[in-house]
Amino acid sequence: MVDAYFLLYAMNGIKEEQISAARALLEGGAKPRRFNPGARRALLIAAVLVGLLAVTACSAILFSMSQRRAEPEERFAVSFRSGEQLITGQWQAGLVLEFQGAEECAAVHFKPGWLPFPVEKNHPYPIEEGWYTTLVSEHVPDAERPEDLRGKTQAFMATVYYAPQFADGGALLILDQSPGQVEEETWGALQVLKYHTAHTDPESREQENNYLILFSPAEGWIIAVRGRADMETLEHIARELEVEPTGETVKSSDFQNKYAFMDVVVG
Protein backbone atom coordinates (compact mmCIF):
# COMPACT_ATOMS: atom_id res chain seq x y z
CA MET A 1 0.00 0.00 0.00
CA VAL A 2 1.13 3.53 -0.68
CA ASP A 3 1.48 5.68 2.37
CA ALA A 4 2.59 9.23 2.79
CA TYR A 5 6.17 8.03 3.31
CA PHE A 6 6.06 6.93 -0.30
CA LEU A 7 5.39 10.50 -1.38
CA LEU A 8 7.98 11.82 1.02
CA TYR A 9 10.64 9.61 -0.62
CA ALA A 10 9.31 10.56 -4.04
CA MET A 11 10.12 14.22 -3.32
CA ASN A 12 13.66 13.19 -4.26
CA GLY A 13 12.39 13.65 -7.81
CA ILE A 14 12.48 17.43 -7.33
CA LYS A 15 15.14 18.84 -9.60
CA GLU A 16 18.43 20.14 -8.26
CA GLU A 17 17.64 23.67 -9.42
CA GLN A 18 14.50 23.86 -7.29
CA ILE A 19 16.21 22.23 -4.32
CA SER A 20 18.99 24.80 -4.50
CA ALA A 21 16.48 27.64 -4.69
CA ALA A 22 14.57 26.35 -1.66
CA ARG A 23 17.82 25.84 0.20
CA ALA A 24 18.84 29.42 -0.59
CA LEU A 25 15.49 30.59 0.69
CA LEU A 26 15.81 28.70 3.97
CA GLU A 27 19.37 29.77 4.52
CA GLY A 28 18.79 33.36 3.52
CA GLY A 29 15.44 34.76 2.62
CA ALA A 30 13.33 35.93 -0.29
CA LYS A 31 14.63 38.41 -2.79
CA PRO A 32 12.98 41.78 -2.27
CA ARG A 33 10.13 42.24 -4.70
CA ARG A 34 8.69 45.30 -6.30
CA PHE A 35 5.16 45.46 -7.50
CA ASN A 36 3.63 47.81 -9.93
CA PRO A 37 0.35 48.48 -8.09
CA GLY A 38 -1.64 48.43 -11.33
CA ALA A 39 -0.01 45.26 -12.52
CA ARG A 40 -0.38 43.68 -9.10
CA ARG A 41 -4.14 44.21 -9.13
CA ALA A 42 -4.45 42.74 -12.59
CA LEU A 43 -2.34 39.79 -11.54
CA LEU A 44 -4.44 39.33 -8.44
CA ILE A 45 -7.69 39.09 -10.35
CA ALA A 46 -6.12 36.86 -12.95
CA ALA A 47 -4.67 34.63 -10.25
CA VAL A 48 -8.06 34.24 -8.61
CA LEU A 49 -9.77 33.38 -11.86
CA VAL A 50 -7.03 31.04 -13.02
CA GLY A 51 -6.98 29.41 -9.59
CA LEU A 52 -10.71 28.91 -9.64
CA LEU A 53 -10.63 27.54 -13.16
CA ALA A 54 -7.77 25.22 -12.30
CA VAL A 55 -9.58 23.83 -9.30
CA THR A 56 -12.71 23.25 -11.31
CA ALA A 57 -10.86 21.71 -14.20
CA CYS A 58 -9.52 18.87 -12.13
CA SER A 59 -12.15 18.63 -9.42
CA ALA A 60 -15.56 17.11 -9.61
CA ILE A 61 -18.42 19.57 -9.14
CA LEU A 62 -19.18 18.68 -5.55
CA PHE A 63 -22.01 21.10 -4.79
CA SER A 64 -25.03 22.59 -6.46
CA MET A 65 -27.27 25.56 -5.68
CA SER A 66 -30.89 26.19 -6.63
CA GLN A 67 -33.14 29.13 -5.83
CA ARG A 68 -36.89 29.41 -5.39
CA ARG A 69 -39.54 31.67 -3.87
CA ALA A 70 -40.87 30.45 -0.55
CA GLU A 71 -44.48 29.31 -0.44
CA PRO A 72 -46.73 31.72 1.52
CA GLU A 73 -47.48 29.11 4.17
CA GLU A 74 -43.89 27.89 4.41
CA ARG A 75 -42.01 28.48 7.69
CA PHE A 76 -38.33 28.01 8.49
CA ALA A 77 -36.86 27.23 11.91
CA VAL A 78 -34.32 30.03 12.21
CA SER A 79 -32.37 31.00 15.31
CA PHE A 80 -29.85 33.76 15.78
CA ARG A 81 -28.11 35.68 18.52
CA SER A 82 -29.01 39.26 19.32
CA GLY A 83 -26.47 40.36 21.88
CA GLU A 84 -26.58 37.72 24.61
CA GLN A 85 -30.05 36.57 23.67
CA LEU A 86 -30.72 33.54 21.47
CA ILE A 87 -33.78 34.22 19.37
CA THR A 88 -35.56 31.28 17.79
CA GLY A 89 -38.71 31.12 15.74
CA GLN A 90 -40.57 29.91 12.69
CA TRP A 91 -40.02 32.50 10.00
CA GLN A 92 -41.40 33.28 6.60
CA ALA A 93 -38.91 33.83 3.85
CA GLY A 94 -38.75 35.73 0.58
CA LEU A 95 -36.09 33.78 -1.25
CA VAL A 96 -34.77 30.28 -0.55
CA LEU A 97 -31.33 29.14 -1.72
CA GLU A 98 -30.93 25.38 -1.39
CA PHE A 99 -27.74 23.38 -1.72
CA GLN A 100 -26.82 19.80 -2.33
CA GLY A 101 -23.49 18.07 -2.17
CA ALA A 102 -20.73 16.90 0.12
CA GLU A 103 -20.91 17.15 3.89
CA GLU A 104 -17.67 19.06 4.19
CA CYS A 105 -15.59 21.57 2.34
CA ALA A 106 -12.49 23.72 2.81
CA ALA A 107 -12.99 26.87 4.85
CA VAL A 108 -12.08 30.08 3.04
CA HIS A 109 -11.49 33.69 3.80
CA PHE A 110 -11.34 36.65 1.48
CA LYS A 111 -9.36 39.80 0.96
CA PRO A 112 -11.01 42.81 -0.67
CA GLY A 113 -9.05 44.33 -3.52
CA TRP A 114 -11.31 47.36 -3.81
CA LEU A 115 -13.62 49.01 -1.29
CA PRO A 116 -15.65 52.18 -1.90
CA PHE A 117 -16.10 53.06 1.79
CA PRO A 118 -14.22 52.40 4.98
CA VAL A 119 -15.02 49.17 6.80
CA GLU A 120 -15.89 49.00 10.48
CA LYS A 121 -12.83 48.60 12.64
CA ASN A 122 -14.50 46.77 15.49
CA HIS A 123 -16.93 44.67 13.52
CA PRO A 124 -15.30 42.79 10.67
CA TYR A 125 -13.37 40.30 12.84
CA PRO A 126 -10.33 39.99 10.59
CA ILE A 127 -8.65 36.59 10.84
CA GLU A 128 -5.38 38.13 9.81
CA GLU A 129 -4.46 41.45 8.44
CA GLY A 130 -6.58 42.06 5.38
CA TRP A 131 -8.34 38.67 5.40
CA TYR A 132 -11.98 38.37 6.45
CA THR A 133 -14.91 36.02 6.74
CA THR A 134 -17.25 38.93 7.49
CA LEU A 135 -16.76 42.47 6.31
CA VAL A 136 -19.09 45.36 7.08
CA SER A 137 -19.22 49.01 6.11
CA GLU A 138 -21.87 51.05 7.86
CA HIS A 139 -21.03 54.11 5.84
CA VAL A 140 -24.32 55.50 4.60
CA PRO A 141 -23.91 56.93 1.12
CA ASP A 142 -27.31 58.60 1.02
CA ALA A 143 -27.01 61.96 2.81
CA GLU A 144 -30.77 62.42 2.62
CA ARG A 145 -31.52 59.47 4.83
CA PRO A 146 -33.10 60.04 8.26
CA GLU A 147 -30.51 60.96 10.86
CA ASP A 148 -31.55 58.19 13.23
CA LEU A 149 -30.74 55.61 10.59
CA ARG A 150 -27.30 56.90 9.73
CA GLY A 151 -24.66 54.46 10.81
CA LYS A 152 -27.28 51.78 11.37
CA THR A 153 -27.62 50.34 7.92
CA GLN A 154 -24.90 48.58 6.06
CA ALA A 155 -23.63 50.27 2.92
CA PHE A 156 -22.32 46.84 2.15
CA MET A 157 -21.39 43.67 3.92
CA ALA A 158 -19.81 40.45 2.77
CA THR A 159 -20.13 37.14 4.57
CA VAL A 160 -18.90 33.62 3.90
CA TYR A 161 -21.34 30.70 4.17
CA TYR A 162 -20.78 27.04 3.33
CA ALA A 163 -22.99 24.68 1.34
CA PRO A 164 -22.49 21.76 3.80
CA GLN A 165 -24.42 23.76 6.42
CA PHE A 166 -27.50 23.55 4.22
CA ALA A 167 -26.92 20.22 2.51
CA ASP A 168 -29.24 18.26 4.79
CA GLY A 169 -32.49 19.96 3.82
CA GLY A 170 -31.55 23.41 5.09
CA ALA A 171 -31.38 26.67 3.20
CA LEU A 172 -29.83 30.10 3.01
CA LEU A 173 -32.68 32.57 3.23
CA ILE A 174 -33.84 36.11 2.66
CA LEU A 175 -36.39 36.51 5.41
CA ASP A 176 -38.07 39.89 5.39
CA GLN A 177 -37.32 41.10 1.92
CA SER A 178 -38.97 39.95 -1.22
CA PRO A 179 -36.56 40.06 -4.14
CA GLY A 180 -37.34 41.24 -7.60
CA GLN A 181 -36.09 39.34 -10.60
CA VAL A 182 -33.12 37.12 -9.79
CA GLU A 183 -30.42 37.31 -12.44
CA GLU A 184 -28.08 34.36 -12.83
CA GLU A 185 -24.58 34.74 -14.25
CA THR A 186 -21.42 32.69 -14.52
CA TRP A 187 -18.07 34.23 -13.61
CA GLY A 188 -15.43 31.71 -14.55
CA ALA A 189 -15.99 28.82 -12.18
CA LEU A 190 -18.46 30.73 -10.04
CA GLN A 191 -22.25 30.76 -10.14
CA VAL A 192 -23.55 34.25 -9.42
CA LEU A 193 -27.00 35.49 -8.40
CA LYS A 194 -27.96 39.18 -8.42
CA TYR A 195 -31.18 40.69 -7.19
CA HIS A 196 -32.72 43.79 -5.65
CA THR A 197 -35.00 43.82 -2.63
CA ALA A 198 -37.41 46.37 -1.23
CA HIS A 199 -39.31 46.14 2.02
CA THR A 200 -40.75 48.22 4.79
CA ASP A 201 -39.24 47.85 8.22
CA PRO A 202 -41.32 47.83 11.43
CA GLU A 203 -40.89 51.59 11.74
CA SER A 204 -42.39 52.06 8.27
CA ARG A 205 -39.11 52.96 6.62
CA GLU A 206 -38.61 51.94 3.07
CA GLN A 207 -35.51 49.84 2.71
CA GLU A 208 -33.92 48.89 -0.55
CA ASN A 209 -30.91 46.65 -0.85
CA ASN A 210 -28.92 44.84 -3.50
CA TYR A 211 -27.60 41.31 -3.19
CA LEU A 212 -24.84 39.58 -5.12
CA ILE A 213 -24.25 35.92 -4.26
CA LEU A 214 -21.03 34.20 -5.31
CA PHE A 215 -21.14 30.40 -5.17
CA SER A 216 -18.33 27.95 -5.92
CA PRO A 217 -19.79 24.59 -7.04
CA ALA A 218 -16.31 23.07 -6.87
CA GLU A 219 -15.43 24.26 -3.40
CA GLY A 220 -18.76 24.71 -1.64
CA TRP A 221 -18.34 28.25 -0.35
CA ILE A 222 -20.83 31.05 -0.75
CA ILE A 223 -20.00 34.72 -0.32
CA ALA A 224 -22.95 37.07 -0.06
CA VAL A 225 -22.06 40.69 -0.90
CA ARG A 226 -25.04 42.93 -0.19
CA GLY A 227 -26.18 46.25 1.19
CA ARG A 228 -27.55 49.65 0.25
CA ALA A 229 -24.76 50.24 -2.24
CA ASP A 230 -25.82 50.01 -5.88
CA MET A 231 -25.30 46.78 -7.79
CA GLU A 232 -22.44 48.20 -9.82
CA THR A 233 -20.54 48.96 -6.62
CA LEU A 234 -21.27 45.53 -5.15
CA GLU A 235 -20.13 43.88 -8.36
CA HIS A 236 -16.89 45.86 -8.30
CA ILE A 237 -16.27 44.71 -4.72
CA ALA A 238 -17.13 41.10 -5.56
CA ARG A 239 -14.97 40.93 -8.67
CA GLU A 240 -11.95 42.10 -6.72
CA LEU A 241 -12.26 39.73 -3.81
CA GLU A 242 -9.35 37.37 -3.45
CA VAL A 243 -10.59 34.09 -2.00
CA GLU A 244 -8.33 31.42 -0.61
CA PRO A 245 -8.60 28.41 1.73
CA THR A 246 -7.70 28.93 5.37
CA GLY A 247 -6.44 25.38 5.73
CA GLU A 248 -9.40 24.40 7.94
CA THR A 249 -12.27 22.11 7.00
CA VAL A 250 -15.94 22.91 7.56
CA LYS A 251 -18.37 20.04 8.22
CA SER A 252 -22.16 19.85 8.31
CA SER A 253 -21.92 18.79 11.94
CA ASP A 254 -20.17 22.07 12.83
CA PHE A 255 -23.49 23.91 12.44
CA GLN A 256 -26.31 23.80 14.99
CA ASN A 257 -28.76 25.38 12.60
CA LYS A 258 -29.31 24.20 9.05
CA TYR A 259 -30.85 27.55 8.12
CA ALA A 260 -29.12 30.91 7.90
CA PHE A 261 -30.31 34.25 6.63
CA MET A 262 -28.45 36.99 4.87
CA ASP A 263 -30.80 39.94 5.31
CA VAL A 264 -29.24 43.36 5.56
CA VAL A 265 -30.04 44.39 9.10
CA VAL A 266 -31.67 47.68 10.04
CA GLY A 267 -30.94 49.21 13.41
Binding site: V2, L7, L8, G13, I14, I19, A22, L25, L26, G247
Partner: protein
Protein backbone atom coordinates in the same frame (compact mmCIF):
# COMPACT_ATOMS: atom_id res chain seq x y z
CA UNK B 1 37.02 24.28 -1.62
CA UNK B 2 35.10 23.99 -4.89
CA UNK B 3 32.64 21.11 -5.17
CA UNK B 4 34.44 19.58 -8.13
CA UNK B 5 37.65 19.51 -6.12
CA UNK B 6 35.87 17.73 -3.27
CA UNK B 7 34.45 15.16 -5.69
CA UNK B 8 37.95 14.70 -7.07
CA UNK B 9 39.20 13.91 -3.55
CA UNK B 10 36.60 11.13 -3.32
CA UNK B 11 37.72 9.76 -6.64
CA UNK B 12 41.32 9.83 -5.47
CA UNK B 13 40.23 8.08 -2.25
CA UNK B 14 41.82 10.92 -0.30
CA UNK B 15 41.37 11.06 3.48
CA UNK B 16 40.59 14.76 3.12
CA UNK B 17 37.40 14.10 1.16
CA UNK B 18 35.14 13.59 4.16
CA UNK B 19 36.73 16.37 6.22
CA UNK B 20 36.25 18.87 3.38
CA UNK B 21 32.69 17.67 2.81
CA UNK B 22 31.86 17.97 6.47
CA UNK B 23 33.30 21.44 6.67
CA UNK B 24 31.33 22.67 3.68
CA UNK B 25 28.11 20.69 3.94
CA UNK B 26 27.97 19.36 7.51
CA UNK B 27 25.60 22.06 8.70
CA UNK B 28 23.41 21.78 5.64
CA UNK B 29 23.02 18.01 5.96
CA UNK B 30 22.51 18.26 9.70
CA UNK B 31 19.66 20.70 9.16
CA UNK B 32 17.98 18.30 6.71
CA UNK B 33 18.33 15.39 9.11
CA UNK B 34 17.23 17.45 12.09
CA UNK B 35 14.04 18.63 10.33
CA UNK B 36 13.10 15.00 9.75
CA UNK B 37 14.32 13.26 12.91
CA UNK B 38 13.94 16.12 15.40
CA UNK B 39 16.61 14.38 17.44
CA UNK B 40 20.24 15.50 17.74
CA UNK B 41 21.74 12.05 18.02
CA UNK B 42 19.75 10.66 15.10
CA UNK B 43 20.58 13.69 12.98
CA UNK B 44 24.27 13.35 13.80
CA UNK B 45 24.26 9.65 12.90
CA UNK B 46 22.45 10.36 9.63
CA UNK B 47 25.09 12.91 8.69
CA UNK B 48 27.94 10.55 9.53
CA UNK B 49 26.21 7.81 7.52
CA UNK B 50 25.90 10.27 4.64
CA UNK B 51 29.69 10.66 4.44
CA UNK B 52 30.08 6.91 4.58
CA UNK B 53 27.46 6.43 1.84
CA UNK B 54 29.05 9.15 -0.31
CA UNK B 55 32.44 7.49 0.14
CA UNK B 56 30.99 4.21 -1.14
CA UNK B 57 29.19 5.81 -4.08
CA UNK B 58 32.12 7.87 -5.39
CA UNK B 59 33.48 6.45 -7.54
CA UNK B 60 31.50 5.32 -9.60
CA UNK B 61 29.25 8.35 -9.28
CA UNK B 62 30.44 11.84 -10.13
CA UNK B 63 27.61 14.06 -8.92
CA UNK B 64 27.05 17.21 -10.93
CA UNK B 65 25.57 18.94 -7.90
CA UNK B 66 27.23 17.90 -4.68
CA UNK B 67 24.80 19.54 -2.22
CA UNK B 68 21.82 17.87 -3.89
CA UNK B 69 23.62 14.54 -3.95
CA UNK B 70 24.58 14.74 -0.27
CA UNK B 71 21.26 16.22 0.80
CA UNK B 72 19.38 13.44 -0.99
CA UNK B 73 21.39 10.78 0.81
CA UNK B 74 20.89 12.46 4.18
CA UNK B 75 17.20 12.88 3.52
CA UNK B 76 16.65 9.22 2.65
CA UNK B 77 18.67 8.06 5.64
CA UNK B 78 16.74 10.36 7.95
CA UNK B 79 13.34 9.26 6.62
CA UNK B 80 14.40 5.61 6.96
CA UNK B 81 15.48 6.24 10.53
CA UNK B 82 12.37 8.20 11.39
CA UNK B 83 10.12 5.57 9.86
CA UNK B 84 11.79 2.75 11.78
CA UNK B 85 11.69 4.57 15.09
CA UNK B 86 8.14 5.83 14.71
CA UNK B 87 6.49 2.75 13.30
CA UNK B 88 4.56 2.16 16.50
CA UNK B 89 4.33 5.58 18.02
CA UNK B 90 2.98 8.83 16.76
CA UNK B 91 5.14 11.79 17.61
CA UNK B 92 4.84 15.42 16.75
CA UNK B 93 7.34 17.24 14.60
CA UNK B 94 7.48 18.40 11.04
CA UNK B 95 7.78 14.92 9.55
CA UNK B 96 4.55 13.79 11.15
CA UNK B 97 2.80 16.96 10.02
CA UNK B 98 4.16 16.68 6.49
CA UNK B 99 3.09 13.03 6.34
CA UNK B 100 -0.42 13.98 7.41
CA UNK B 101 -0.53 16.74 4.80
CA UNK B 102 0.74 14.49 2.03
CA UNK B 103 -1.70 11.73 2.89
CA UNK B 104 -4.38 13.99 1.34
CA UNK B 105 -2.69 13.72 -2.02
CA UNK B 106 -3.16 9.98 -2.49
CA UNK B 107 -6.05 7.67 -1.72
CA UNK B 108 -5.60 5.59 1.42
CA UNK B 109 -6.12 2.33 -0.40
CA UNK B 110 -3.76 2.95 -3.31
CA UNK B 111 -1.87 -0.19 -4.23
CA UNK B 112 1.78 0.31 -5.18
CA UNK B 113 1.92 -2.96 -7.04
CA UNK B 114 -0.85 -1.92 -9.38
CA UNK B 115 0.77 0.14 -12.05
CA UNK B 116 3.70 2.21 -10.96
CA UNK B 117 6.94 2.35 -9.16
CA UNK B 118 8.62 4.88 -6.98
CA UNK B 119 10.63 6.34 -9.85
CA UNK B 120 7.42 7.13 -11.72
CA UNK B 121 6.25 9.14 -8.75
CA UNK B 122 9.63 10.85 -8.54
CA UNK B 123 9.48 11.78 -12.21
CA UNK B 124 5.93 13.10 -11.84
CA UNK B 125 6.78 15.14 -8.76
CA UNK B 126 9.83 16.58 -10.48
CA UNK B 127 7.68 17.65 -13.45
CA UNK B 128 4.96 18.96 -11.18
CA UNK B 129 7.35 21.17 -9.24
CA UNK B 130 8.88 22.44 -12.49
CA UNK B 131 5.43 23.56 -13.60
CA UNK B 132 4.97 25.80 -10.54
CA UNK B 133 5.83 29.45 -10.20
CA UNK B 134 9.16 30.33 -8.63
CA UNK B 135 7.62 31.11 -5.24
CA UNK B 136 5.45 28.01 -5.29
CA UNK B 137 8.49 25.90 -6.11
CA UNK B 138 10.32 27.36 -3.13
CA UNK B 139 7.41 26.87 -0.75
CA UNK B 140 6.65 23.33 -1.90
CA UNK B 141 10.29 22.21 -1.90
CA UNK B 142 11.06 23.86 1.43
CA UNK B 143 8.11 22.10 3.01
CA UNK B 144 8.13 18.65 1.42
CA UNK B 145 11.76 18.18 0.49
CA UNK B 146 13.42 19.93 3.42
CA UNK B 147 10.43 19.51 5.79
CA UNK B 148 10.92 23.05 6.98
CA UNK B 149 8.26 24.31 9.40
CA UNK B 150 5.47 26.38 7.86
CA UNK B 151 6.32 29.29 10.14
CA UNK B 152 9.93 29.31 8.97
CA UNK B 153 8.95 29.25 5.29
CA UNK B 154 6.45 32.06 5.83
CA UNK B 155 9.01 34.13 7.69
CA UNK B 156 11.57 33.77 4.91
CA UNK B 157 9.05 34.86 2.29
CA UNK B 158 7.44 37.55 4.46
CA UNK B 159 4.16 35.62 4.26
CA UNK B 160 1.76 35.05 7.13
CA UNK B 161 1.49 31.47 8.39
CA UNK B 162 -2.07 31.43 7.14
CA UNK B 163 -1.04 32.46 3.66
CA UNK B 164 1.73 29.86 3.61
CA UNK B 165 -0.65 27.14 4.78
CA UNK B 166 -3.18 28.17 2.16
CA UNK B 167 -0.58 28.08 -0.56
CA UNK B 168 0.52 24.61 0.56
CA UNK B 169 -3.08 23.41 0.63
CA UNK B 170 -3.61 24.61 -2.93
CA UNK B 171 -0.34 23.02 -4.02
CA UNK B 172 -1.30 19.67 -2.50
CA UNK B 173 -4.63 19.81 -4.30
CA UNK B 174 -2.87 20.57 -7.54
CA UNK B 175 -0.40 17.75 -6.90
CA UNK B 176 -3.25 15.36 -6.26
CA UNK B 177 -4.88 16.42 -9.55
CA UNK B 178 -1.54 16.16 -11.34
CA UNK B 179 -0.91 12.63 -10.08
CA UNK B 180 -4.38 11.65 -11.26
CA UNK B 181 -3.81 13.21 -14.67
CA UNK B 182 -0.53 11.31 -14.91
CA UNK B 183 -2.45 8.10 -14.27
CA UNK B 184 -0.56 7.33 -11.08
CA UNK B 185 -3.73 6.74 -9.07
Amino acid sequence: MEDQAIVELYWQRSDRAIAETEQKYGRYCHKIAWNICMNCQDAEECVNDTWFRAWNLMPDKRPAALPGFLGGITRNLAIDRYKTKNRKKRGGGETELALEELSDCIPAALDTERSFEQREFQRAIGSFVESLSETEQQVFTARYYFLAPVAEIGEKLHFSQSKTKSMLLRLRRRLSCYLQEEGLW
